[in-house]
């Protein structure tokens, strides 16, 4: 496992997942657990959150890519993740363009320049 490197996981809409799987990141492991989740209209927030948390726990995942509109649904879970591995990257989706002001990493960086810091 150490020599093999880590995987890239995706939580996104159908086209995002299809694109990244075309790129070659997909994996179905021995327990037939995928490293991707196709979020459809009927996918519940609990399912998304559970999948995200399961990706965080897996030690063979290095980066988690997630559509920003899905990240908004589970913002508390993303904000609670403070470790650098796996890294969480918010990406745009077809219907929702990327908004830097919503990105949890940039918000964390922005939070540094509060009034308290300039005293």
């Amino acid at each position: 496992m150490a020599g093999r490197g880590k995987l890239i996981a995706v939580i996104g809409d159908e086209d995002t997942c299809t694109g990244f799987l075309l790129g070659g990141i997909g994996e179905l492991n021995k327990n037939r657990k995928p490293n991707f989740l196709v979020v459809e209209k009927d996918t519940s927030i609990t399912e998304i959150e559970e999948t995200f948390k399961s990706f965080l726990v897996r030690n063979d995942i290095g980066i988690i890519l997630i559509n920003q509109f899905i990240a908004e649904m589970i913002r508390h879970a993303i904000d609670a993740h403070m470790q650098s591995i796996p890294a969480v990257l918010e990406i745009p989706s077809k219907e929702h363009p990327y908004d830097a002001s919503k990105d949890s990493i940039l918000r964390r960086a922005k939070g540094m320049f509060s009034a308290e810091d300039f005293r």
């Binding site: 890239i8 694109g19 075309l22 790129g23 196709v38 980066i63 890519l65 990257l89 990406i91 940039l106």
Partner: protein, 241 residues
Amino acid sequence: MGVPEEEKSSLLLDEKLLCFMEQLELLEAKRATLNSLIEQGWFSISKARYSMGNKQVSALQYASEIEPLVYVHARTQDTSKIDFCTERPAQHCNNDSCKDQRSVEDIGPREEGVRRRNKPKKTEKDTSESEGSEKSPEINPVQKSDQNPQQDPLKWFGILVPQSLKQAQMSFKQVIELSAEIATLQAAVLNIRQELKLSMSNKRTARERLGSSVGQDGRLHNSIDSEQEEAKAEHQATDSQ
């Protein structure tokens, strides 16, 4: 002695802040590239869907066995700096000619197995010999499963896929490379932010310490001055007497 120290820490703080800003700028630029590449990929997928049919490019087409073709290595450098880099294991026999050779090899033993099925019953010796020879078809599924990991995801959507789907694959491959770079930058930004916070608080405490020591000095000077004045007054009094 205290002032140069403060200046030094201020300079260090400025340096870190500039580095932080540079990283943020780079992150923003890479983000913009990633966004445009993803858009390009979606557009190509939509074009492929238009030419192939609505249901031909969907999650239903994913293979039942999926093996990753790209890995990411997270290298922890000094001072908790993390570097993500992607790696694509060399795909052997990716050429069409090589695949053709394999397919010919696969067909051969299968035909042999079928031929043996109609053969008349043999003696015990013959059966023991044939057991050995029958082992060869059993190896083939293993070879086949070895071949599976190297399978191009493009093949899930058909053998003759449109050019637009290949273009989509190319854009998403670039997106994957970029996402590793962005993950590295994000980690760097958070790291510098932490360092900045630490050095800011250090500077603040140093300033407070300096301020308090200056205050004490001030009080000391004041007391000396008052003592001198008292002494002068005493002298004047003795002179007048």
